[in-house]
Symmetry: C2
Subunit: 161 residues, 2 copies
């Protein structure tokens, strides 16, 4: 008999970072795929434009990596939406580097430890990180619907390179 | 100094199943939220109706749990789309039970082992499972755009109960 699954660990921190950054690379291609004006204005069904989803991701990703690493939750609520795609991509790339730098400083116990993210959302480090990733996939999926409604072929979902 | 993160395991098989079934419960609420006719017909930008996304999830989830557990990849390509929401929900609930039953039979080594899912997609067990979850979040996000376009308030994304 081989060991059964329930107690086994299935994901290392290193692979989780790869997984997250793979999704962030796809989101970056989505930002690039939007025509500049539509990025900041177009939506379906009264939802926010894709630029505002991206701002939400920026307010979660690096601050969550930092919060899980340090226990300090930095609120970026006053981070204004840039006026150009280039500036949005610059913020994106800046956080890609920052998350990679923060990652190996996360103390091992913090993934399982319960904390209150941004002083509000109680959860383990791993659950808070998974929430950030899932939220990005979720709103990015809505962005795919925006691009389709605009007649634009979105990037391939399975390509995380 | 506490241990840093890269090598640490961050997710157990048991928690991954909780996470997946939480997402599947949200997707179930999405199926319920669609008016019956719109579930099988409505879309944005020429995409598939939400029922077809659900069929895709059904063709991936339980077969992937089984494939990772056993190495046998059962193709459900000929599973036709039901004609009613009730039947779609019945298939959904059937697989919820089946996935829960399969899960503890997954041999521990299979999460890290590379296999060719459905004879086509090479990846570790964990990556194949994460792909199924991410794909569900992605297309469900598109379903949120459909509901918004229909003027229907979708279920809360954060509620996985």
């Amino acid at each position: 008999m081989t060991a059964t699954a329930n107690a086994v660990n299935v994901l290392s921190a290193e692979k989780l970072l790869d997984h997250w950054q793979g999704h962030r690379r796809l989101t970056r291609r989505m930002i690039e795929a939007f025509p500049e004006d539509k990025l900041f204005s177009f939506s379906v069904g009264g939802m926010r434009p894709f630029s505002e989803f991206v701002m939400e991701f920026l307010k979660m990703a690096e601050p969550i990596a930092k919060g899980v690493a340090t226990g300090q939750w930095v609120n970026r609520e006053d981070l204004g939406t840039p006026k150009t795609k280039a500036e949005l991509l610059r913020l994106w790339d800046q956080d890609t580097v920052a998350i990679n730098a923060l990652w190996p400083t996360i103390p091992a116990h913090r993934f399982a430890e319960v904390d209150k993210a941004f002083g509000q959302w109680e959860g383990t480090g791993i659950n808070t990180i998974l929430y950030a990733i899932d939220n990005e996939i979720h709103h990015r999926g809505q962005g795919y619907a925006y691009l389709r409604a605009l007649g634009i072929e979105p990037p391939q979902f399975y390509d995380r390179s």
